[in-house]
Symmetry: C2
């Protein structure tokens, strides 16, 4: 190797596990980030949507004439103006503009595009709609009661022929899962418990409300500036919906002010805005008000859940049987599919030899539910982890020992077919328990329950299992990457993976830097334009670090191989004798600098060789689709966590204060310590809100608190102390060993809080949220809430 006699020694350093500031943090912290709200196109019109004044009614007439006549109005559309509209949504049961009937308070009847929002609002007020009221179905039990009005009756054409068959019995979705034999499980059991849990409405509260700018160019191509989390699925859906060549649809995602699963579906406002743009021949911007965001963005799906579970005296779990009844709301979005994730917890959180699960989602006239961080797992875990405590108590075991006895280890396969290749479950349990001093505090709190004074302390534990290596739901769960190096050894990483605030840009940059030995600032991430980025299925299922990370690593390794091959040729050695770090090509044996990487790259480019380093890679995880019985290893890896929650309960007022959360998370490997801590802290607070304060109050189909004064998010002074530990199980397939963690930190909080309140007070709470009113009522034996009655189907 022909290098200098006394070469520079290059320190090998790594960014993995370090605290790396998010690449977009300075922009966001300084208020310079340009969200969709900040974008305005020349000639742009502003849209507003007229929503229903009734919860459930026939529409008799819509008169838009006065609105159309208003100066400054460029387009007014109703169902009659878009005869080509078709149903959207997961079950294709939802017409964006309602012409014949409205089924919920949020229903879209007309829309206006005008020179300003003010004019558009004024135009809405000029639209006259006549209704004929229908009975309102306000809870799922009423929906499936005999004689209930059919919310989706068959849709008939003028000649009486059936356009859509309607949804009989108001059932939106129903399925059954099972492994093992419940009867056998019951027979083996020394203890059997059965309880019904009630899970309420919450909503995402993204700081960036829903919005879109839609525009057709002069050639009829559609450009949407969209906050979607699934740009490629979105593009395909819109192409099908609008019967357009997909080549003519392009989606650009401006920086997204939070997604949390709320932006996985196509919603009426998006279709309506496209229709308005088409009608007006101008770009049209539609951004929700905060009230509208509450009213018309999706919710976490409410569930009535009856759990029956058993164990032996020796602490072995025997079986679980679950029935869930989901309030689907008036239309079907991803909320209806959350049972598939709940199922994983029912079937596979701890060893469960026998399990069956029956679920039904029914139409009501309530808001409809979408996907939401955790995707049903908060609901499932709330029930399962309370029963774990209750079973332990019933057999006189401590809750930690009971859990450890049933917790899985690496190499096990669950009843549902999930293969736990890496598994830090037991480490999560012991670490969280040790760092929180769980066992001592649990014992001490029990002893102090009956001490005088209203303030009681409690500690509760809960664990969770979630996909951590993508989820093979769609035909592909992959992600594509294009990588190029410029003449200064700076990298452009073009990835299909969307950034919705989770920090993926930073983590992907780290992974690339690790391969190429570059500093984080050397990477520019391009990730928001379907015309440019390679395909990716979208941001969901905690998959981006794992899937997009492996894709980015693949592209970076190809680049490294090209560089080292060229260097080996130039310096007369084998590629294996060289490595990349510290911005240099170095001797892999000694770490001595051979040449500065940027200089070498320029030499490759500006020489007879004339080579630019550009690579592409597509990563598809080695997971499989579930079979017809919902069994299969659906994720390339699984994430585990245990969270211990400490509370103070004021028994005089019912106020529950969350004082500390101790979490231990099996994340495979920490990539960006700062980022993952931030994600966990945010997730804990989201779980805290779910447990204690957030409650979307729907009364007879009407939302009572669509604002931040009455819908109570957790605020800074209420945030508990946190102690976060990472269990690095080094997943073999994970990027640098990492697994997904996006959803995990919210999942256990409510369950652990319920266990903590029980530890403090001896009162077990089966219904969320733990508001002062609800806790006070429970403590005083006066529980009465909507849905709060034991439920199982007849």
């Amino acid at each position: 190797m022909n290098i200098a006699a006394h070469p520079q020694q290059i320190e090998r350093d790594t960014l993995i596990g370090k605290r790396i500031q998010k690449k977009d943090a300075p922009e966001k912290a300084s208020g310079k980030t340009r969200y969709l709200h900040d974008l305005n196109l020349p000639g742009q019109l502003y849209a507003r949507i007229l929503r229903s004044a009734r919860v459930h009614a026939r529409i008799l007439s819509i008169d838009t004439s006065a609105a159309r006549a208003l100066p400054g109005v460029h387009a007014v559309i109703t169902a009659a103006d878009v005869p080509d509209q078709r149903p959207i949504g997961v079950a294709r049961d939802h017409l964006p503009l309602k012409g014949d009937r409205v089924r919920s308070q949020r229903d879209e009847i007309a829309a206006v595009a005008a020179d300003s929002e003010e004019i558009a609002e004024q135009a809405l007020r000029l639209i006259r709609v006549e209704y004929e009221d229908l009975p309102v179905i306000a809870d799922p039990a009423a929906a499936v009661a005999p004689g209930a009005v059919q919310i989706h009756p068959p849709r008939l054409a003028a000649d009486g022929s059936v356009l859509e068959p309607g949804r009989a019995g108001n059932v939106a979705m129903r399925f059954d899962y099972g492994h093992g034999d419940i009867a056998e499980g019951e027979a083996e059991s020394d203890v059997i418990l059965e309880d019904t849990f009630s899970l309420h409405y919450v909503t995402h509260c993204c700081l960036g409300v829903s919005g879109i700018i839609a525009e057709f160019d002069a050639s009829g191509n559609l450009l949407m500036y969209s906050n979607t989390q699934v740009p490629f699925l979105h593009k395909r859906e819109f192409a099908e919906y609008l019967n357009m060549d997909p080549a003519r649809i392009r989606i650009i995602q401006p920086p997204i002010g939070g997604g949390f699963g709320s932006k996985l579906d196509v919603y009426p406002f998006e279709v309506i805005c496209v229709f308005l743009a088409r009608a007006a021949g101008r770009p049209v911007k539609l951004v929700f008000s905060r009230e509208e965001e509450f009213l018309a963005s999706p919710t976490r799906q409410p569930v009535l859940l009856t759990l029956r579970s058993g164990c032996k005296k020796d602490g072995t779990l025997t079986f679980r049987q679950v029935h869930t009844l989901h309030d689907n709301g008036a239309y079907t979005s991803w909320g209806a599919t959350t049972p598939f994730v709940m199922m994983q917890t029912f079937s596979s959180l701890y060893r469960v030899p026998h399990c069956d699960y029956h679920t039904t989602a029914v139409y009501t006239n309530n808001p409809y539910a979408g996907s939401f961080r955790g995707y049903g797992n908060l609901q499932a875990t709330f029930a399962i982890e309370q029963h774990m405590d209750m079973l332990a108590e019933a057999i006189g075991m401590d809750p930690l020992a009971f859990r450890l006895q049933n917790a899985q280890e690496a190499g096990e396969v669950s009843g549902q077919g999930m293969v736990f290749k890496s598994c830090g479950f037991k480490d999560c349990l012991t670490t969280a328990a040790a760092r929180s001093d769980y066992l001592h505090k649990h014992r001490d709190n029990l002893a102090a329950r009956d001490a005088p004074g209203p303030l009681k302390r409690g500690i509760g534990i809960a664990s969770m299992l979630h996909v951590g290596g993508g989820a093979k739901i769609y035909p592909s769960d992959g992600c594509g990457t294009i990588l190029k190096l410029d003449d200064f050894a700076n990298v452009t990483l073009i990835t299909g993976a969307s950034e919705i605030g989770q920090g993926s840009e930073t983590v992907l940059s780290q992974l690339v830097c690790e391969e190429l030995g570059l500093p984080i600032a050397a990477v520019t991430v391009v990730n928001n334009d379907t015309a440019i980025t390679p395909w990716d299925v979208g941001v969901h299922a905690s998959r981006t670090t794992f899937i997009a990370g492996n894709s980015a690593i693949g592209a970076a390794r190809k680049a490294k191989a090209k560089i080292l091959a060229a260097a080996a040729q130039k310096f007369g050695c084998a590629a294996e004798e060289l490595d990349l770090y510290g911005g240099h090509i170095v001797r892999s044996d000694s770490g001595e600098a051979v040449v500065e990487l940027a200089r070498f790259i320029r030499g490759l480019h500006f020489s007879e060789r004339a080579e630019l380093i550009m690579t592409t890679h597509y990563y598809e995880p080695p997971s499989v689709h579930q079979d017809k019985g919902y069994k299969g290893d659906v994720s390339a890896a699984y994430a585990w966590a245990t969270q211990v929650v400490e509370v103070e309960v004021d028994t005089d007022t019912g106020i529950v204060r969350m004082t500390k959360v101790t979490g231990a998370h099996d994340v495979g490997r920490v990539l960006n310590r700062l980022g993952i801590e931030g994600q966990i802290e945010g997730g804990v607070v989201m779980g805290q809100g779910y447990a204690l304060t957030e409650n979307l109050m729907i009364e007879n189909g009407v939302m009572r608190n669509p604002n931040f004064r009455d819908y109570k998010l957790v605020t800074a002074p209420e945030i508990p102390e946190m102690d976060i530990s990472f269990i690095e199980s080094m997943d073999g397939e994970g990027p640098q060993g990492a697994k997904g963690v996006g959803e995990a930190p919210s999942i256990c909080i409510a369950a652990a809080a319920a266990n903590a309140i029980y530890n403090a007070t001896g009162t077990r709470l089966f219904a969320l949220p733990f508001t002062p009113e609800a806790v006070y009522a429970a403590l005083h034996g006066r529980t009465e809430k909507p849905y709060w009655k034991p439920w199982k189907p007849e």
Copy 2:
């Protein structure tokens, strides 16, 4: 091969040579294109520049206090405010903000960023500047006269030390070229002619005036929305200039309203806007007024050119000797390098056994010159092709025969080392002559010269040679491409090559479609963002179709190979048995459809194979750098053209009307017939303006006509009839055989018009433009123009 028994027969079609509408035509024709002028960023400020009130003066003081105090003003900068400014431009002789002296009317003294253009203008009016006048050098002969004031004296620091050495004798650039032996050439000659030609100032008149938006983000990264034709060179220059990591600089090119070479350099307004953005901490937009565009954008370089040439009686050219004196203006931009292109015409347009060329560019207090479509070749050809007619006349040969006798053929190497691999020169000559009936008309016009009446008809011929396969000027002349196919077999072509209106998006799309058998609408071109696109040297030297075209073909062929390899595997055959056309994979022998391409691509993606088709390619042409004697095969191909111009001269008024232009262009191969016709038509009109109407009038350094009323562009009714033929010499290296054509169509027009006026009137015009005044004066023997005196250096 396992395919259907009666497969569909797919027609093989090609887009090559067809009339393809430009992809951006509907947007542009409907006024929807968003040029830089239409972009406005949140928080954006508006900048204006204070220019000199004098042509040549010392600056004694600048008082900006009143401007700074004006409400709505966010930043005011002068040289004193940016101590880190350094000289820009080709010779690094140009400080963006002038602190000590001004050297021309356009000189920048201060700049303001304010809430509106109006406030910025008002602030400019509040700035007080005191000057001390210096003598004005208004023509190049005066600049080199003994005792002339030094326009760039040494720049001294406060302590008297020399910061910059200054430019002695006002010489900006000087060089000498030669091949053969002039003395020998003269000795062989039967006829020797010597004349001096005067070439004037014109300017590009881009419909989109100069402009930039500059913005620093919260991390200190610089984003420029820029009309530059050379984004990657620009990025590098700004990084060096601002002493910034190049990773922190990103250039986005909005659709560009014409370049024509005017946007190849870094200009003061760009640097100033960046300084303002830095000072104000806000995005700053600076767009020229039309008057400013005239005053402060570059010009075509004026030249005094003395040509001495000879031939033998038998029609063999013997030698050429050329001296040129260039008016460099006050600063040095690319205009100073146009002699390198002129040299190619002097040395190699026709066989010239002996040639020498001496050139000097000198500083004056006039506007400074940049590059401009043709890049000196209009000036060189103006002289050469008049002498060709004059030599032919002197030996009694017809002008066509004389040219044909000296025209090169494929395989020849010119004295300067240019290797003419493909060469349709003779076909250009004979085709243009035949289609215009040149010889008959030439003879008839001669015969009619002395007929009564003021209207005389003339026909003139001229030819040109220009680079047609790039030009190896920079260390690399290459272009990178990234290509991806989506699930619908739509292509994204990410190319380094910029679109400045020349139609490159469309041609590149055609070339990709030809390889992949797809329709033109299937391609989206991404080409305007340095963060995304691979490196390209820029739009100049008629190189985009050739260089970027070959790069795009390379990427498309790799994609095709991947697809056919996968298909061969799937269908159990050899890849060679398959081909792509009509949107299908077909049997290459029979053209029978095997499978629809989109369906196959989806199958690749959504299957266990999980493959996305993405490829990259970098193309560097096989050209070489010139040696120290300026010899070498600097382009991968050379383009030829002959244009015949017909005129009517009104001898009473001097008005010359161009009635018809017949062109024959060796373009290698026609790719987009509509596009290439449009380029030629536009180029002809630009040449017509150069010949007849356009004239930037500078008197004592002051521009007298900075507006479209007084600077006369050719308007629609004046455009001549055109007859355009294509000589398809099928260049072996060219993309589908094509060569560059961007600059060619302007080059011969003035020369052919001069020959036509001579044919009509017997009066030879050595100075441009042929305005009625100039022509009238020449016809009546009263020629007197600035520069119009024979010139050769002492």
